[in-house]
């Protein structure tokens, strides 16, 4: 197990993770980051907007960034041109 920290950077600024989570490896950390990004996007959708400008930065126990997940990589966008087509 290794410790990973998940910072969120988006429209409202930086939310630093000073607690972290113990996970089996980078692949599990990627899953946690994607799930976290999606959960934030989900809450935004309920309020009536989608802001994909944010990102989750994953840091290791030495606080080095080992992975960045932009919000727009956490979801697949479909039907964006539906409005134009009609």
């Amino acid at each position: 197990m290794a410790r990973f920290f998940f910072d969120v950077i988006n429209g409202t600024g930086l939310v630093e993770d000073d607690e972290g989570q113990d996970l089996p490896g980078l692949s599990a950390a990627r899953d946690v980051a994607i799930e976290g990004a999606r959960s934030i996007i989900k809450e935004d959708v309920l309020m009536g907007f989608i802001d994909l400008s944010g990102r989750v930065e994953v840091r290791d126990a030495d606080r080095q960034t080992v992975l960045t997940i932009p919000f727009h990589d956490a979801v697949e966008l479909r039907g964006l041109d539906a409005g134009a087509a009609s």
Binding site: Q21, G36, I40
Partner: protein, 239 residues
């Protein structure tokens, strides 16, 4: 040993000296459990119920994909699986979230109480119905409250429940929960919990840092949570 259980009961009704003696004598054993130990497992025949003396525990259920829902947090003084006396087995697990101390009460001693002590029996019944009320409030949170209100609500609830058993210092209390634990209580992700805590802090409502909760603006926090402590049945009256 079960002083906090008595504090919890006496907040809602009188407990006579005789009833207190009987309740204390019902404890057969006291055990220390490490953190993250499933103390009561679902679908196992049970012959004892557990009172939490020190620490923090929870009821939880898991899905096949590993997703976990904590359905209630237990603070010292809670009779965490009193309902296993009539149910005989549970449909959920009970685990320690931090190193904890528990008192075991054999079901045959609870049976004796129900046959000889009608008022004490009603108080024990009250305890399980109170758990049901807490479950209903959590259902409202999980189904309908925003993430901000969910976090605010559980922090208001724990302040009240810990204060009853003497474990809150006014609007400050120790809460040895991780973001992952909170996420499993609130149906959120740990990343979302962290962001929500930061939002509550930046609004000057509450700070949760180094396992310490400090409510800076109780009125504001209650408003956001729509926290109404009536579901904790805090009035003292004959039950």
């Amino acid at each position: 040993m079960i002083d906090k259980l008595l504090l919890k009961m006496r907040r809602r009704d009188d407990v006579s000296a005789e009833e207190e003696t009987i309740l204390r004598a019902a404890v057969s054993d006291v055990r220390e459990v490490a953190a993250d130990v499933t103390v009561v497992r679902a679908d196992v025949d049970l012959h004892v119920s557990t009172v939490l003396i020190d620490g923090l525990m929870c009821r939880y259920k898991d899905l096949g994909n590993g997703e976990r829902q904590i359905t209630e947090l237990h603070v010292p003084g809670d009779f965490v699986d009193l309902h296993s006396f009539p149910l005989k087995r549970l449909d959920h697990n009970v685990m320690s979230l931090v190193p904890s101390r528990i008192a075991l009460v054999p079901h045959d001693r609870i049976l004796a109480i129900t046959e000889t002590q009608p008022h004490l029996t009603r108080l024990l019944w009250f305890m399980t119905t109170l758990d049901a009320a807490i479950h209903r409030e959590w259902q409202l949170s999980l189904g309908r409250r925003t993430s901000l209100a969910r976090v605010a609500h559980v922090l208001c609830e724990l302040q009240m429940r810990l204060d009853i058993v003497g474990l809150a210092d006014g609007m400050t209390y120790r809460l040895p929960l991780t973001q992952v634990d909170l996420a499993e209580c609130l149906g959120l992700t740990p990343i979302h919990v962290n962001r929500t805590l930061r939002e509550l802090r930046s609004q000057g409502l509450v700070t949760f840092r180094s396992k310490l909760v400090s409510i800076d603006n109780y009125g504001g926090l209650k408003r956001i949570a729509e926290f109404n402590p009536d579901y904790l049945y805090l009035d003292k009256r004959p039950r």
